[in-house]
Symmetry: C5
């Protein structure tokens, strides 16, 4: 799973049937210290995340393991909001 920061939201008026009713957030992958790296991507929000949150995203068929996303043509979900990250026993990131 990727560590990522929620940076925004996607508003789409035309959607495939099964994507209706999902909240589609824009994210960018981060390092374990919360530094943004990589390209923006879009994931379905499962945990009521907000802009600025550091989260974990599951990709591929992982994205369709929930009632909300089962049989949807989506390939990424936000599965958890990060509280803090520890590396070598030290806290390297903490939600403020």
């Amino acid at each position: 799973m990727r560590i990522a920061r929620v940076i925004g939201e996607t508003i789409a008026t035309i959607k495939s049937d099964r994507v209706h009713g999902t909240k589609l957030l824009i994210l960018r992958q981060t390092t374990h210290t919360g530094e943004v790296i990589g390209k923006p991507y879009v994931a379905v929000d499962l945990v009521d995340a907000g802009v600025g949150d550091l989260v974990l995203t599951g990709h591929g068929s992982a994205a369709r393991q929930t009632h909300l996303t089962k049989e949807c043509p989506v390939d990424a979900v936000i599965a958890a909001v990060v509280d803090h990250l520890e590396v070598d026993g030290e806290v390297v990131f903490r939600t403020q």
Copy 2:
């Protein structure tokens, strides 16, 4: 899911049986401001998208979650047409 722009169409006279009857569009991934990045790829259109549209594409087995593409050897679909994108509360892209 990727944010992408539809740039063209693929015309293929010889296709595997189950790919017949699908519209195969050419896309390039974009940033959240609609700037094109990355290599061109091809996806099945589920939402009647047109050249120039900013869309969301689902990849991998996500592409086979619809009646049109079930059991097809395809790995990407256009699942939504983007109306606008918001980053940090500001609209950074809007369809014209």
Copy 3:
């Protein structure tokens, strides 16, 4: 799906049971104008493609959606031979 050019063939005398009887072609991804980019890879041919053809390849579980490849340990198939590609209403590639 990737746009790719068939560049050669793989001859393997020792194969996993379920890979026997498949034609394994070597490909390289191309741009929408047919320019070769990226590393070579191998895909099962579903459409009787030949060396030099521009084709579309499906990846991941997409590769096992056919009778020929069902339950095979393969992850890429050639699903279509490209006739021509249009970008912004202009033909940018045409098979000769």
Copy 4:
């Protein structure tokens, strides 16, 4: 599967239902000599690995082949702890 080193742990207070109760470790891919390369990622621990261990991680649907992770929105698991690695008949890495 990737060769990777466990570098830390993720503490997440808000999780999708099915991710509760899993240990989510932070990893970085390594070479066959244990040199760290690539971006950090997060995987569910199946083998009671600890920080500093060299491990093998399975990705994609591989991550949901166990009772712990079945139908979870996760896409990576730690499937083994490496004891040693041999290249060309020589031990190039050994756990201390």
Copy 5:
């Protein structure tokens, strides 16, 4: 599928239940002439390959299409040993 060379073996004393009894080889992707490129990765051997062999590896769910690997948390298998590779009608690689 990737063209790859077997460079070594992984010895892991602690493994997830379903990975026990599999031979886990270390590989590096190659070009069609056998030149090594890319990062090392690990795959389950289905065809009794040895160090030095040029092989084809299947990735993702392709890796679990065999009795040996069904329901294992593995994401790569060696599906064939390459005898020779032809590009544009010429043999560009042959096993010695």
